[in-house]
Subunit: 342 residues, 2 copies
DNA sequence: CTGAAAGCGCTTACAG
DNA sequence: CTGAAAGCGCTTACAG
C-alpha cells in the first residue's frame, strides 16, 4: 500500500507532506522538520532515514506553509526600467541572466517588476504583497523614488550603479575613471578636439561619464569647449543636431556615453558621407555586441553586464541572509581600442 | 489607541491581519474575509465598513496564508533561453516587458527562469516548488523537453511559437506566410537569385521561415538551388562562409532568418566592399531597432515582441483562471520594404 | 535527541 | 447575512 508511489516520477498535485513522512517513518512531524532543516540536535540515523525517504519520494516542502511559518519568500525582485529607450539595448537582459544564475545557485527565484521613469507603484506592490525578500535596483535616477522608498521602509536592496549614500550596497564599474582613461588615451594618441554626446542626465551614470571626460581634458590642460559637449541627448533628433554642430566645429573625435547614441551617430555620419575613423573618430560606452561587429569596429569601454548581475544577486542574498558588509563592489572594465579611433 | 496608525504610510513589517480588522470592526474573521473576496452573501454596510478600514490602514493580505489556503501563487513563470546566442538580441527582453505589463494589470507577478538548450532543471525546480501557477515558454526547440515535461505533468502553460500539438495554446506570428510573402515581393520586384541564410534548425521557427522561402520560389516556378541555401548557420564563421559562397554563385539577394545573422552578413559584406543594395540586396526577420536605423535601412519582417508577450500573458492567465479556449493566437506582422532591397 | 502543541494568517464548508 | 471552527503544512519554543 505505502509502496504505491514506487518508481513514479514526480507528478504535479501528488504532493506528500511532512505528516506523511512522519507517519511512514514512525516519528513525529517535529523530528522530520528538524532533520530536513538540520536545526536542533537530531540523531544521525533519524536524519538518514528522513533523507532517504525524501529522496525516494521526491518530497518538496510546501512553499506557502514554509513561508507562513518563516516569512521568507526565497525570491528576489529585479526592478527593470520600462521606459521607451531601454528596449534597444540588451543591457538589462544580460544583467537579468546574471542575477538568475546566482539566484538559481543559491536556491532563490527572481521576480521581475518594472519601473517607468519614477512610477514605482508596481515595485511597491511587489514589496507590500511580501513576494520578495529583497530588491535589485538596476539603475539610479536623480532623486530616485525607488531608492528612497526602499530605504525608508527598511527593505533589503542593492543598487547596480552608484550613489552618495554609503549605507546603500552598490555594485558598479568606475565609469568616471573609465571615461577619463579612455579620453586620456585618445588625447595621448594625437586626437585634438574631442566632443562628447551624452544621454539623459537624470541617469546618474551619464553624469559620471561626462565627469570623466571633463577630468581628462583638465589633466591635459585643455579647457572645456561648450560647443563640443552635448548632454541630455535622449532623442535621435538631438543626437543628429549634436553631430552636425560637432562636425561644424571641426572636432576629430566623438565620445558617446552609450551604445544607442553611438549607433545613431554612426548611422548619421554614414548618411552624411563622413567616414570613420578618417574624418571622425568614434568611441562609446558599454561594449555591446553591435559595436564589436560594426564596421569599423568601435572603440569602447567594455563592462560585463552578466557580472554586474551575478555580483548584485550575490550581495543581495548575502544581505538577506545576514552578512552585513556594505562595501561597494567595483567591477572591472576594459578599454577596447579598435579601428574607429585609429 | 487604535488610532496609532493614523496618517502613517505603509511601514514594512507593521502588518495588520484579518483578525485585527475583525476585532476593530466588531465582526468575525470569516465576515472580513468574505467582504474582501466578495464571495458569499455579505451585507452592503459590512462590505463598505471593511473596505474603508482596509483602505485607511492599507491592509494587504498575507501572501503565504492566502496561498496556503488556496494554493494559488499569482505568479507566472517565463522560461528564458540562456544559450550563448540570445544575449545579442533584445527579443526576450521585449517579450518579458510585454508579459510584465499584462501580469501587472491582472495582479500577477512574473518569475523568470532560464533554460539552457535542453537543460530544464531550473524550470522543473520552479514548478515543483510550487512557485508559479503556470509557465510561458518563449521558444520551441525540436523535441522540446520543456513542452513534454509540462504537458505530462499537467502544468498550465502556453507557447510563444508553434507546434503540432493543437492541445497546446500557441501564440505566434505566421512566419511561414510572412517569409513567403517577403520572398514573393522581392521576386516580383525583379530580384533574380535569392539566397537564404538560416539559423539553427533545432529552433522550429527557423524551419517555418525556410519553408516560406521554398514555397515562394515554388510558386514562382523556380527550383531550389542548394548552393543558395545555408541553414544551421549559428556561428559567425558559418555565416561568413555562406556569404562567400552566395556571392560566388552570383545571387543578388540574401534573406536572413534573424537579425543577428543579418548583422553579421551586413558587416561581412562591408568588409568585402560589396555594397548594399547595389551589389547585394538584404532582407531579414524580426525588425529590431538596429535594422531600422542601419544604413541603408534594412527590409525586414516586423513583429511586435511586446505584443507576443502581452498575448502570451493574457492567454496563460486565462488558462489558469479557467477560460479553457485553446485556439492558437496568430499575431500580425508587417513587411517593411526599405532601401536594402531597392 | 524527540514529541505534543501552538502558531503563522488566511479560506471555506457547516450551522444558524 | 454572519460566526465558530477546522484546515492548509510548515516551524519552533517548551518540556522531557
Amino acid at each position: 500500500m505505502e509502496e504505491n508511489n514506487e518508481g513514479k516520477d514526480f507528478l504535479y498535485g501528488n504532493k506528500i507532506t511532512i505528516a506523511d513522512i512522519a507517519e511512514n517513518l514512525g516519528v513525529s512531524k517535529s523530528t522530520v522538520s528538524r532533520a530536513i532543516s538540520g536545526k536542533g540536535r537530531i540523531g544521525k540515523d533519524t536524519t538518514k532515514k528522513v533523507y532517504d525517504y525524501i529522496e525516494k519520494y521526491n518530497y518538496k516542502p510546501n512553499y506557502f506553509a514554509k513561508g507562513l511559518a518563516t516569512s521568507k519568500t526565497y525570491n528576489i525582485g529585479v526592478a527593470f526600467p520600462a521606459d521607451v529607450n531601454v528596449g534597444n539595448t540588451p543591457f538589462f537582459q544580460g544583467l537579468l541572466l546574471g542575477v538568475c544564475e546566482v539566484a538559481a545557485a543559491l536556491d532563490y527565484d527572481v521576480i521581475v517588476t518594472t519601473v517607468k521613469d519614477s512610477d514605482i507603484n508596481l515595485l511597491k506592490r511587489l514589496v507590500e504583497n511580501n513576494k520578495v525578500d529583497g530588491i535589485i535596483l538596476t539603475r539610479n535616477l536623480l532623486n530616485d523614488m525607488a531608492i528612497s522608498y526602499l530605504s525608508e521602509n527598511g527593505i533589503p536592496f542593492v543598487l547596480v550603479g552608484s550613489c552618495e549614500d554609503e549605507s546603500i550596497i552598490q555594485i558598479d564599474n568606475n565609469h568616471l575613471e573609465a571615461c577619463e582613461k579612455l579620453v586620456s588615451l585618445l588625447l595621448a594618441d594625437g586626437v585634438k578636439k574631442i566632443a562628447m554626446i551624452g544621454g539623459d542626465r537624470k541617469h546618474i551614470v551619464n553624469r559620471y561619464r561626462s565627469e570623466g571626460y571633463y577630468k581628462a581634458l583638465n589633466n591635459y590642460g585643455l579647457g572645456i569647449e561648450h560647443e563640443l559637449v552635448f548632454l541630455d541627448c535622449y532623442s535621435p533628433v538631438f543626437i543628429e543636431q549634436a553631430v552636425r554642430n560637432i562636425v561644424k566645429s571641426k572636432a576629430d573625435c566623438i565620445v558617446c556615453t552609450d551604445d544607442v547614441i553611438c549607433g545613431r551617430v554612426l548611422s548619421f555620419l554614414r548618411d552624411e558621407g563622413i567616414s570613420v575613423p578618417e574624418n571622425m573618430k568614434i568611441a562609446s560606452f558599454y561594449d555591446s555586441y553591435h559595436l564589436e561587429t560594426h564596421n569599423p569596429p568601435v572603440t569602447a569601454i567594455g563592462i560585463s553586464v552578466e557580472d554586474l548581475g551575478t555580483e548584485a544577486g550575490k550581495r543581495l542574498i548575502g544581505l538577506i541572509d545576514g552578512s552585513n558588509n556594505n562595501k561597494k563592489s567595483i567591477l572591472d572594465y576594459e578599454i577596447h581600442l579598435r579601428r574607429s579611433t585609429k
